[in-house]
């Protein structure tokens, strides 16, 4: 299997101009995915068709909460394993091996979770397999989890990066060496055709059973009930793998297993429902919207709409702000505003003027949003594609901001690792959506989740049996739908279960969670997942300040990181993996030709977006017109973009219509209307429309809207309605509470009842409401 498709770009020898066939042929993902994380093996198959020895460099991004464990390099007549060494020592060993003509492999981590896997001295016609073991986290929820594995890397924003778009529709980017050392970025090709092939076959391991498996990114086949395989024989490296596993946790769950050192390692999964429900309180929220060039097109349109719907959930007691950022910040107002009808209308108008442009100065946006909250306590709600390099500085800014930060990652190239850290480091939560999912729906869903934590000040006080240890500390805020994941270990041989003693701000006495069950997992896997999580956290906290104090702090933190790496035998930015294989016949010679494996531009990225990134890189103050080279490539890509847009469902969908209606909810929670009775009527109609769409008080993206409408109706019903209509309204509310949808043209009627309509079908609507409970043949009261 070789990449020799005619007519596509191939790297060429600088001297002779001869084509250099790509040496990396295949990337295949295998492994086991648990609700607490994944233990994966990524097989990279290299084969050289060049006449000279090659050095192949493959750049990839780590998934969330991930760390490299080790690799095995295998070829004709040899097999070797990696060693964990400090980066400088590993690099020296690698270089000595390359200079001596040996096959040398180095996996070194850089900022932002980027890794260069270098394979030096791949001989002509030689085939080498590098199997890299990776531990990775998942996006855990009460009702299952979402797993994401990066098969590609997006060109992202950095103010000091250099970029060029070549005639052959390839973007090349270089990052500043003083910040990124000798990291080599891949070339980003418009089309991934002709590059290496990707595939996967992973096993899902959920002891309490799986209800549903899906993937919004790839066509999958499920074998048995647990094995997930890529349905086609192979695919292109132009998007990340995303797997959704629905598996209702229901109660607190324990994953545990023993290791050789006599310890029992465990992961406790505590569903948010364990902490009950809390009534929403008045809140301060700043919406932070990424308007950078890479958000152009459908993402920003959907983000605008989503934010407008989020505004509709706010009550009169809430205060809000709105900041749009690229390489500049634009604010709706200098300070938080009350969510009254006038301000919400003005905010919606402000949103309509927000277009995509410029770079991604996320740190400046966070500072601006935090300044608006300034000590009052509140949340920042970010919608971003997170396509930005040097994220450690942004994390530092976010930590100092002192606000909870919730993020929604948009697009196939959003940096899941970074956005998950951004939320976790600030006590918030994060989600991401793929290009095939709706941003507005996901944004509403996330906003509903973060409306009110079910527990604050959550803290583990101790473990039983005594001597039990836990780390890292869980987040002190628990949000609806987001369980607590606690890693720990205790003495092996106790089958009595594990008890977690905890406290929250609302509890007077400590709570207890008893975890029982036999060991069901590999203890070593749980130990490694915990290590990967601790290493990710430590890397995220590395000081990025370049002052003398900052450098001293960073040195101490790097020592700690190296110690963590040694404790868990996992690589990090302070420890690399290296192997040198002495093959028969190896001898020093000319240096190998270095080839960086190109990647496909992420599926939803188009040339205009990369041009936007390039504008910001080359001229942050005044964007220059595109170069003739870049512009000549733009037209076919724009056509492709238009073709993608045509694949979208017919407009508007039911969700769009509900969104348009939900935006109109008034601060008191009711729909608008000329008279109180009309307000009640259209609120009832919208409730039934939501219910028919699957949204109720507990589930669905519009659950916050449902809650506000129900609150309004419960308040207003006794005073405003004649007896018969009151009965119909109460019956409707009962249906909503019992989650019993009724068939009917509720959305049409609600739209027809809006104040701007000349002829509103008031009587028809009341009749329909009455008929839903008493079909016509049983007689109706309101005819």
């Amino acid at each position: 299997m070789r990449n020799e498709e005619p007519g596509i770009f191939m790297p060429r020898c600088a001297r002779s101009g001869d084509e250099l066939p790509l040496a990396m042929q295949q990337l295949f993902l295998t492994g086991r995915i648990l609700p607490a994380g994944a233990r994966l093996v990524v097989q990279h198959r290299f084969q050289s068709a060049a006449r000279k020895p090659l050095e192949v460099v493959y750049t990839f991004l780590l998934p969330r909460d991930a760390a490299l464990r080790r690799f095995e390099v295998q070829g004709p007549g040899f097999k070797a394993h990696s060693e964990l060494q400090p980066p400088r020592q590993a690099q020296e060993n690698y270089e000595r091996g390359v200079a001596a003509g040996h096959l040398s492999v180095l996996a070194r981590g850089y900022r932002d979770g980027m890794v260069n896997l270098s394979l030096g001295n791949l001989n002509p016609q030689e085939e080498v397999l590098v199997a890299l073991e990776i531990l990775a986290g998942v996006d855990l929820r009460d009702d299952g989890f979402r797993f994401r594995f990066p098969f590609t890397l997006a060109p992202s924003y950095h103010p000091d990066a250099r970029a060029i778009l070549l005639e052959d529709q390839e973007l090349q980017m270089e990052l500043p060496a003083d910040r990124f050392d000798d990291l080599l970025l891949p070339a980003f090709r418009k089309s991934a055709r002709g590059l290496h092939q990707i595939g996967f076959e992973v096993d899902l391991d959920v002891p309490w059973g799986i209800e549903e498996i899906g993937s919004p990114s790839h066509s999958i086949r499920v074998c048995g009930s647990r094995r997930v395989i890529l349905a086609p024989a192979a695919d292109l490296p132009d998007r990340d793998l995303v797997l959704d596993v629905r598996s209702e946790m229901g109660e607190t769950r324990l994953l545990s297993g023993q290791t050789g050192d006599g310890r029992r390692h465990f992961a406790a999964l505590i569903p948010s429902t364990h902490f009950g429900v809390r009534k929403e309180a008045a809140r301060n929220v700043v919406f932070l919207m990424d308007r950078s060039g890479s958000m152009s097109g459908e993402p920003i349109a959907q983000a605008r709409k989503a934010l407008a719907a989020c505004l509709a959930v706010l009550g009169a007691e809430d205060r809000f702000g709105l900041v749009a950022f690229d390489d500049r910040c634009e604010t709706f107002s200098a300070e938080l505003k009350e969510a009254d009808p006038r301000n919400r209308r003005a905010a919606r108008d402000f949103l309509t003027k927000i277009d995509a442009r410029g770079g991604t100065e996320l740190a400046a946006g966070i500072r601006e949003a935090a300044a608006m909250i300034s000590g009052r306590g509140g949340d920042i709600f970010i919608l971003t594609d997170g396509q930005v390099f040097e994220t450690e500085g942004i994390l530092q800014t976010a930590r100092r901001a002192g606000c909870r930060l919730h993020s929604l990652g948009i697009g196939s190239a959003s940096q899941d690792r970074f956005l998950a850290l951004l939320a976790r480091e600030t006590d918030g939560i994060s989600r991401f959506v793929t290009p095939r999912e709706r941003v507005d729906q996901a944004a509403l869903d996330l906003f509903a989740s973060v409306a009110c934590p079910v527990a604050v000040g959550f803290r583990v006080e101790g473990l039983e049996p005594s001597g039990g240890r836990w780390s890292p500390e869980p987040s002190p805020s628990v949000f609806p739908g987001c369980p607590v994941l606690l890693y720990g270990d205790c003495v092996a041989g106790t089958d009595d279960g594990i008890t977690i003693r905890y406290s929250t701000a609302a509890q007077e006495a400590p709570g207890r969670i008893v975890l029982s069950g036999a060991d069901s997992c590999c203890g070593e896997t749980l130990r490694l997942l915990r290590g990967a999580r601790r290493i990710t956290d430590a890397e995220a906290r590395l000081e990025s300040d370049d002052s003398a104090i900052g450098r001293r702090t960073a040195a101490r933190q790097e020592e700690y990181l190296a110690a963590l790496s040694r404790e868990y035998s996992l690589a990090s930015r302070s420890m690399s993996l290296v192997a040198v294989v002495e093959r028969a016949g190896d001898r020093p010679g000319e240096p190998p030709v270095t080839q960086v494996v190109p990647l496909g531009l992420s599926q939803d990225m188009v040339l205009e977006e990369t041009q936007q990134i390039m504008y910001c890189l080359s001229a942050p103050e005044a964007a220059a017109p595109p170069s003739p080279v870049a512009f000549s490539c733009a037209l076919p890509m724009m056509e492709e973009s238009a073709a993608c847009m045509n694949e979208l469902p017919a407009w508007p969908t039911d969700f769009d219509r509900l969104m348009d209606l939900s935006i109109r909810i008034e601060p008191d929670g009711g729909m608008p209307g000329e008279k109180e009775e009309e307000r009640i009527l259209v609120s009832l109609l919208l409730l039934l429309a939501f219910l028919a769409n699957g949204d109720d008080l507990r589930s669905g993206a519009f659950r916050s809207h449902v809650a506000r409408l129900v609150d309004f109706l419960e308040r207003e019903l006794p005073a405003g309605l004649p007896e018969e209509k009151l009965r119909v309204a109460k019956e409707t509310l009962r249906r909503v509470r019992e989650r019993k949808p009724a068939a009917g043209p509720w959305m049409d009627l609600a739209e027809g009842m809006l104040p701007e309509k000349a002829h509103r079908p008031v009587e028809e609507a009341w009749a329909a409401l009455s008929e839903k409970d008493h079909p016509p043949d049983s007689g109706t009261l309101l005819r």
Partner: protein
Amino acid sequence: MPENKQSWTLLELAEEAGISARTIRFYISRGLVDGPEVAGRGATYGRGHLEQIRTVLARQSQGLTLAEMARLPDHPPRHSALPQPEAWVCYTLEGDVAVWVRQDIAPWRNREVLRALDEFALKIKRKKQEDEDHEK
């Protein structure tokens, strides 16, 4: 590393240039730096390679990408030990006085220099004449 050293291994060159050996191999593969002077066992690199690397780094700091550098007419920059030739003109003003003037200077400058030389030549001629008259 001594400044007067004439040949280095790749690792020594990397240390001298302050970048990794892999980066230098990448530059060589991109045609921005020449391959080693001596191929095979004991491949060596000279001062010209170091100058080429420094040129690449300097151009990077000016915002150029490697692909843009590869398109420059002087790519890869050559650094020979032999300096570029320069044309000079010799004016022998007297049997014991000669003045060299670069040939490729601007015309206005050349006129100024020649005018000054003319004055100087007249002056030393006059002085010589005065000395001869005085001896008589």
